[in-house]
């Protein structure tokens, strides 16, 4: 089955992973800007990272027929450096017109601090000013519930935002309802130990339905599985869910959400086939 991974960090993966993803049915993906495993020291470090996301990765992906999109920000882990964060936010518009940039992300909270909240709000200002979609990271483990509620307070308090253009990621059993009830899209990250398993993601789909829900691998430099979305597809099939339901979650929902971005020019396999026949 063709699928779209809405959240995966391919800068951290080897080229063989692109090949494996293509073999598993991945036709497109979106890559949010995130923490490199260490705090970067300069705005130029981020400028180079954004060039990698907008110039290098689309070419690597295209070798295997995968369409690559990305999101730009300074992540919450580095937001304690408020001065650097503001320099990065001021530099981001240099890249917003690149053809694979979908919006601002993954912004959010990490330890739910004041500085993280301030930088989160300044990213919202940026998104509102440039009419960008938003992809949001919610904290890990014991900080997730509190942080998700704080993020929702900031989002719902901002009348400039169109909630249907905001994706709140890494939801789990205790946060998904809050996100969906406020009218946002929600993403479940299939990540060993610290987030959601394919089985629990299926449970959440069964409890809440497929409306405004997606699944992603968040494959990165840590313990993670870039082919986690096919694991979810297999689990859904083992439970005898319809192909139409599965396709909606792993393909149609991401396309519906991302189509709201001015830069999203996704071409399905069918479109590509017709285009090649027409010459």
């Amino acid at each position: 089955m063709d699928y779209f991974d809405p959240h995966i960090h391919m800068v951290s993966r080897i080229t063989d992973d692109y090949e494996t993803l293509a073999k598993m049915g991945c036709v497109g993906l979106s890559e949010p800007a995130f923490w490199a495993g260490f705090d970067r020291g300069t705005v130029d470090g981020f400028r180079d990272y954004f060039r990698q996301l907008t110039e290098v990765e689309p070419k690597r992906a295209a070798q295997y027929g995968i369409q690559h999109y990305c999101w730009l920000c300074i992540n919450a882990k580095e937001a304690e450096n408020v001065n650097l964060s503001r320099e990065v936010i001021a530099m981001i518009p240099e890249f917003l017109d690149k053809p694979n940039v979908l919006g601002i992300g993954e912004i959010g909270l990490n330890k739910n601090t004041r500085n993280e909240s301030i930088i989160f709000l300044e990213h919202l200002d940026l998104a509102a000013k440039y009419d960008q979609q938003i992809l949001i990271h919610t904290p890990h483990l014991e900080d997730k519930y509190q942080g998700t509620r704080m993020i929702l307070d900031m989002l719902t308090g901002d009348s400039r935002l169109d909630r249907s253009r905001v994706l709140v990621d890494h939801v789990e059993e205790h946060t998904v309802r809050h996100v969906l009830e406020e009218g946002f899209w929600a993403g479940m990250t299939l990540y060993p130990v610290t987030k959601c398993t394919p089985q629990r993601a299926c449970d959440i789909i069964e409890m809440y339905g497929p409306e405004r829900l997606m699944v992603n691998s968040a494959g990165d430099w840590g313990p993670s599985k870039p082919t986690a979305v096919p694991d979810f597809i297999l689990e859904m099939r083992r439970r005898r869910h319809s192909e139409a339901t599965i396709r909606r979650i792993v393909y149609e929902n991401p396309l519906t959400f991302f189509s709201q971005s001015q830069s999203f020019r996704f071409r399905s396999r069918e479109t590509e086939e017709v285009a090649s026949k027409l010459g």
Binding site: R114, E173, R239, T245
Partner: protein, 87 residues
């Protein structure tokens, strides 16, 4: 959206997996007992025991309740406390 499998099918499919997971938990508690030192006052131990209790309650939202056992509380006045002005 309902689960297409019957309860009997779910049990047949998952019995061994659930059994294995319960054994892993029991063995982990045994391991803690066998280890030198005492962590009985560590608040994480209390949370583990509370989560086990929640998981055996006959409700339909055990997973959500277990998540909340392991979560920091949310304070709805946080914006005032942190002096973060909403947009």
């Amino acid at each position: 959206m309902s689960l297409p499998l019957t309860a009997a099918e779910v049990l047949s499919r998952e019995f061994l997996e659930i059994r294995a997971k319960i054994l892993e938990v029991a063995a982990a508690f045994d391991r803690l007992e066998r280890s030198t030192g005492d962590v009985s006052e560590d608040p994480r131990i209390a949370r583990l025991h509370e989560a086990l209790k929640v998981a055996s309650e006959p409700t339909e939202d055990r997973a959500e309740q277990v998540q909340l056992v392991f979560s920091r509380p949310y304070d709805e006045t946080w914006q005032r406390a942190m002096k973060v002005l909403p947009r």
